[in-house]
Amino acid sequence: MSGAKPLEIIARRAALELQDGDVVNLGIGMPLLVADYVPDDIQVYLHTENGLLGMGPPPDSDHVDPQIVNAAKQPVTERLGASYFDSASSFAMIRGAHIDVAMLGALEVDERGMVANWTVPGRAVLGVGGAMDLLAGVGKLIILMTHRTRDGVPKLVRQCRFPLTGIRPADVVITELAVFRVDKDGLVLTELQPGVTLEQVRAATEARFRLAPELVAAGAAG
């Protein structure tokens, strides 16, 4: 493992999933970091569910417009070609699969790729935001999360203990240790982050997963 921080490793790798022309929703929190790592040779368009397509980076402190915010209510900017719309129109884009990619955080992902990212058991259910709409609707669902909790508990689990966000599985899960794709049979480990061994991933993962052919060929299984 390199000296980079886990979140930076995750965001950097996640940015490589983007293709030229993609319309992308980065949810709130850590995935917003991905915007800083989008390769220079591609153009992506950021959608924020509170009603803006064409979101730009946070403004410097002299140019804050408090009425231009992202889904986390933080000030952002507007890029050339941006447009504003109401919340029903914004979620029509989301549910209707007009957003190519969403990158969301998660509390847990199970071995079928099911995602829990909106609440914890036993606590009053008082907030969900756009999590369920995004999960149900976007074209490609990429989950970004640390491989374990701060207490070292694996977040890739056999079955989620936390309430699910929906019945649609993630397409890709990216952690600071590895990249998994999800197919109809569940998680497939496709890539180890630089310097990470398969043993490290196994030790940090509760969910069962298969190895992608390219990883086997590269000898990771050894």
Binding site: S87, A136, T165
Partner: protein, 235 residues
């Protein structure tokens, strides 16, 4: 449905909210405080109405906007999508003083639109298989599962727009638009707090977001003839 008054939609906040009674169901625009009609909320506080059901994405921040009404114990029930950003909501809920109905954000928006559009309900994929679908009809249509959601309507909608013309046509500003144009369609009495009122004809007919038939009252806070008490004006 601002149809009973052809002219004279311009009012003070006090005039516009005179009909709001205890127990009213009120939609309040805004995403957090962005696009929230803070002067109208302050007038609600001043009027002292209570037992309110509030339909809004959030309940403001502690002591600010709708959060102020919550602290004062005026809100009986909240229908929205994200209340955890205001710790007072969690407290009031755990003390049993606040009822909460939580909807996915897209469902909240769509339910308000459906209320305004005369629909009886709609099927959405959001929430299927989750705690929020419990007790709701889930149905397979065209090979996928959907939850039946019902329209939302209110007695009063308090919204924030950028500009109004004298007829009540509205345009919004940036991400302050959010739920406001939807709520304008879904209440019996719709009050718009605006930054500016312009003569009829000054808004581009192609760019009007809320046509005037949805708007009953226009309030320009700077012109309020009713003094707002100090503690409210901090909101």
């Amino acid at each position: 449905m601002g149809n009973d008054v052809a002219k004279g939609k311009r009012m003070t906040a006090a005039e516009a909210l005179a009909r709001v009674k205890d127990g009213a169901t009120i939609m309040v625009g805004g995403f957090g405080l962005v696009g929230a009609p803070l002067h109208l909320i302050a007038e609600l506080e001043r009027r002292g109405v209570k037992d309110l059901t509030i339909i809004s994405n959030n309940l403001g921040e502690p002591g600010v906007g709708l959060g102020r009404l919550l602290q004062l114990g005026r809100i009986r029930k909240a229908i929205g999508s994200f209340f955890t950003s205001n710790p007072d909501v969690i407290e009031a809920y755990s003390r049993g003083e606040l009822e909460v109905e939580l909807l996915p954000q897209g469902t909240l928006a769509e339910a308000i639109r459906a209320g305004g559009a005369g629909l009886g309900g709609f099927y959405t994929p959001a929430g299927v298989g989750t705690l929020l679908a419990e007790g709701k009809e889930v149905r397979e249509l065209g090979g996928a599962l959907y939850v039946l959601e019902r329209p939302l309507r209110a007695d009063v909608a308090l919204i924030k727009a950028h500009k109004a013309d004298e007829l009540g046509n509205l345009v919004y500003y940036k991400t302050a638009r959010n739920f406001n144009p939807l709520m304008a369609t879904a209440a019996r009495w719709v009050v718009a707090e605006v930054d500016e009122i312009v003569p009829v004809g000054m808004l581009d007919p192609e760019a009007i977001v809320t046509p005037h038939l949805y708007v009953d009252a226009i309030v320009l806070p700077g012109q309020a003839s009713t003094p707002v008490p100090k503690e409210a004006s901090q909101a």
